[in-house]
Amino acid sequence: MAFNVLIVDDSSSMRAIVRKIIKASGFNIGELLEAADGKEAIKVLMDEWVDLVLTDINMPKMNGLELISEMKKDEMLKSIPVVMVTTEGSEKRIQESMELGASGYIKKPFLPEDIKRTLSAIMGEDEDGQRDYDEDDGGSDF
């Protein structure tokens, strides 16, 4: 079953790069959705089925940490894994993100392998689309 991924970043260039890496990753990706800030991301999440969110932290209107907090308040959204993709690399920020419920953290600048490795860990697939975990363990219902 294909995964739908939501990319959240106020930089259109960064969204384009992450999109390109994910497309070329070899994983079983369905739709690649985008949002320019946390508020827009919430709208997308309410309208579309999303299996994974990759989000920047520093964005206008609603930042990435606020986005996670909002998602965790919602019964439908709280189980969606969220990975931070950000320049903010302090231990404190990483800890803050994890305490809010982030599933992973990628620091910019990053290599394509950093994104792929995180996708593999979160989605439980290798690049050939083979699952290596029991679907009953949790995650999206598909």
């Binding site: 106020d10 260039s13 520093n58 320049t87 302090s90 231990e91 404190k92 600048p109």
Partner: protein
Amino acid sequence: MDRETMMKTMGEATSNVLDTMFYQPVQIRDTNCSLQKWFSRKQLLVGATLSFHGPSAGSFYLLLPATMVTGITSNFLGIEEEEINEEQKKDTVKESLNMIGGHMLSLFDKEGAFKLDIPEFIEESDLTEDKLGDLKGDVIFIETEENRLAVGIQIETGNWKFDT
């Protein structure tokens, strides 16, 4: 942090970002020249500025030739130069500085005391030779194979002291 360490950290961050995301190996030049002397008079420059606040407040800035931007945008996005639009170029310049500033802070700010604002693009018209003199602070001078860039930091308030 002393000035020398700060400049070294800024150089390291700049080099990491340009090499990793833009495939631009760089050399940091040890020079005390002015921005006007560093860049050729005929070159049109563009740039970005990025404010930060925390124990100290100030801003980073990045300056580079307008002619360089298409090439680095092409490398960054992985698309042909003919496909690139103005918005993508501006966004690339802003995101470059966002990564340089963020990476630099992450190299020493383990506590996350500093916060970055949203980067802003600087137009050619604001970077004429006479206006370059308005940019203060400490600068690192960078060379790629074909171009020259500069990254600067201006501290406006706070207790981030360094020897001058």
